[in-house]
Symmetry: C2
Subunit: 357 residues, 2 copies
DNA sequence: CGCACAAATTTGATCGATCAAATCTGTGCG
DNA sequence: CGCACAGATTTGATCGATCAAATTTGTGCG
């Protein structure tokens, strides 16, 4: 039998289309007895309303869009995977779907927004980064399209702009701060910070946490010599670590796992005796896990869920003139989530140091 | 001004809706002069047909679906990223969009198919794996829904089933074969193979390539002792490499980058003198790149593009009774792509071996 | 000139849902 | 008994496109 439609089902049940529609969209308008009878019939027939027809009438696609950046930019790799998965799952749970798209540049991204809004009628967008004075966020705001950004809108000076749009971000400083505290608890006092050259504010933010924790612990005077920048690569991490070690650092907090990987190697090499190289990375990538490297883990899943919450809330607010029954506390429009350190014991790989063949 | 529709634009131009529709969907039916006039007006007004309205009438959503596996399963990490990106890009270029969804299990995945087909009217699906006797592929085939699978349908014995559905896969054996040849060219003769325990056919396939190349080179007799299996982790790779080295192996082809990472570490350790640990990984993950490890790179982008080609071709065939003008050679329904080895010189990290602090 | 016939264009119906307004039921109460 | 009025249900229009069939325009030619 062909897929049932509202009309076909209505005929069978000898009720009107609208009544069935009401059972689905405004159950309180239907007499309980009728409602149950219809609900049962819906289940039995496996009736599912067509999104296209619904969208045509309501102008809602129940669909969010997200640009997939070309690999190696922005949040990527395993982090992006986790983020995407959580996003999709949360959207699905809220009755929305997620559509991906590609763009060559930010201006092309705007062109895509326009197209996707007109053609597919997307209800909102997820952005995975934003720059100060971002043309995309401005465009979306002017047009009144709902969107949420993963990442704070930093200004040119590395400060936070007072953007009025929704965003969620991970508090990098809180992460490195916690990493320092962990190392302090392990007995270290000369704890270095190893960042990368890129003048981006995310790195500066992570450095800030280290600084704060060192100050709080009373090691503020050591700070100048213990902060180093290197190339954002594994060898970069190694050379940075060598420099820090030469200045007496016994432990290192890094702004990425690549740096941490190189740093851990180097420390092992410099101090063959030490069991655990006191190095903490950032992002908690699979590499860190594979090598038994401690790392700051970002709660990207929570961030994704929150972004969906923000978007759906905004859309629900518009939709029904009278907001849902309980005024439902609106989700924070701007939220900073705290990461946490995943402490790991290095793998025996190094411990087996000079095992015979 | 509100978004133009076919009707509004028709009124302005004093032509009928259908004529404009024909300009877009069957230009040959419209007199050149009219066509150009209308085309210009479409551009000027920025008219874009609504996908929802179109879908309602044509029963085509121009949308493909793909299940996003929970992280750490199937193809993942950076490889998945590249695949997804290429998929999205290719779909977009062909006028299709990509919708993601999550599922808890294979049977739940079927439930999602059903829902997405009924509700969103998806035109086809991308699967990222298939098992012999896969319930999902069977369901899709019975229902006649177009789909393409990334990965060959292996049977229980590790052989290839004669499945009738479309798939694309990477020829793992060809990859390891090439890796062996590279090592042979570098002067190695005792080349080991390091795989993981998992009895999955992908690993067996990779081993097969090594075997083939060793045989071809006349080293078939060494084979039994030079094939080792270990746990699919970095330390697993290290212990496997130790074993292989003890049996005289001077180079190792691994079935993954994790194993290769551990193996490279171990070889370096065992032979401090050697400049380049002769180890080749598989998947060419960012880790391999970061550490300067040679690895077999899979052409996932090409695979993704081909899958979209297969799907769009199938849908185009159905759509217009008479296939597109030139009969357009149908894309291979089952395609095996050859990977290639990315040769890298290890990073100075190790070369700096015993540099002073 | 006029007819046949193809090319070009238009008309009305339809896809499957929701909206807004109309109609039908049923209950309370003077 | 009958009227008002809220509750329940139905009706007709509509969202924006395409399809199938009808109509108009144009061309060739006896």
């Amino acid at each position: 039998m062909a897929r049932p439609t509202l009309a076909s089902l209505a005929r069978e049940l000898a009720v009107s289309r609208q009544t069935i529609s009401n059972v689905l969209n405004a159950p309180h308008k239907v007499k309980p007895a009728t409602r149950e009878r219809i609900q049962a019939a819906i289940e039995a027939a496996g009736y599912r309303p067509s999104a296209a027809a619904r969208q045509l009438r309501t102008q809602r696609s129940m669909n969010f869009g997200m640009r997939l950046l070309p690999a190696t930019d922005g949040i990527n790799g395993a982090v992006l995977d986790r983020f995407l998965h959580a996003l999709t799952e949360a959207a699905q749970a809220a009755g929305y779907r997620l559509t991906l798209f590609c763009a060559d540049s930010d201006s092309d991204e705007i062109r895509q927004y326009e197209e996707l809004l007109d053609v597919a009628g997307l209800d909102g967008f997820i952005l995975t980064s934003s720059t100060p004075d971002d043309v995309r966020t401005r465009w979306l705001q002017e047009r009144g399209t709902p969107f949420a950004v993963f990442g704070r809108p930093w200004d040119a000076a590395g400060g936070l702009t007072a953007a009025s749009h929704s965003w969620v971000d991970i508090d990098g400083a809180a992460g490195t701060e916690q990493a320092v505290r962990m190392l302090l608890a392990q007995g270290h006092s000369r704890i270095g910070f190893l960042g990368s050259y890129t003048g981006n504010p995310v790195g500066a933010d992570r450095r800030r946490g280290w600084l704060r924790a060192m100050d709080a612990a009373g090691y503020g005077r050591d700070v100048p010599a213990l902060s180093v920048e290197a190339e954002e690569t594994v060898p970069g991490g190694a050379s940075g670590a060598a420099l820090l070690a030469s200045r007496g650092a016994t432990a290192i907090v890094c702004s990425s796992d690549s740096l941490a990987l190189g740093a851990a190697e180097k420390l092992r090499e410099l101090r063959p005796g030490t069991a655990r190289p006191a190095v903490v990375g950032f992002d908690n990538t699979p590499v860190a896990a594979a090598l038994g490297l401690s790392s700051v883990a970002q709660p990207v899943e929570e961030a994704a869920r929150h972004m969906i919450r923000v978007l759906t809330h905004e859309l629900a607010g518009d939709g029904t003139g009278a907001a849902s029954n309980p005024p439902a506390a609106p989700p924070e429009r701007q939220l900073l989530l705290a990461p946490h350190v995943v402490e790991r014991v290095p793998l025996p790989l190094a411990a087996t140091g000079s095992s015979p063949a």
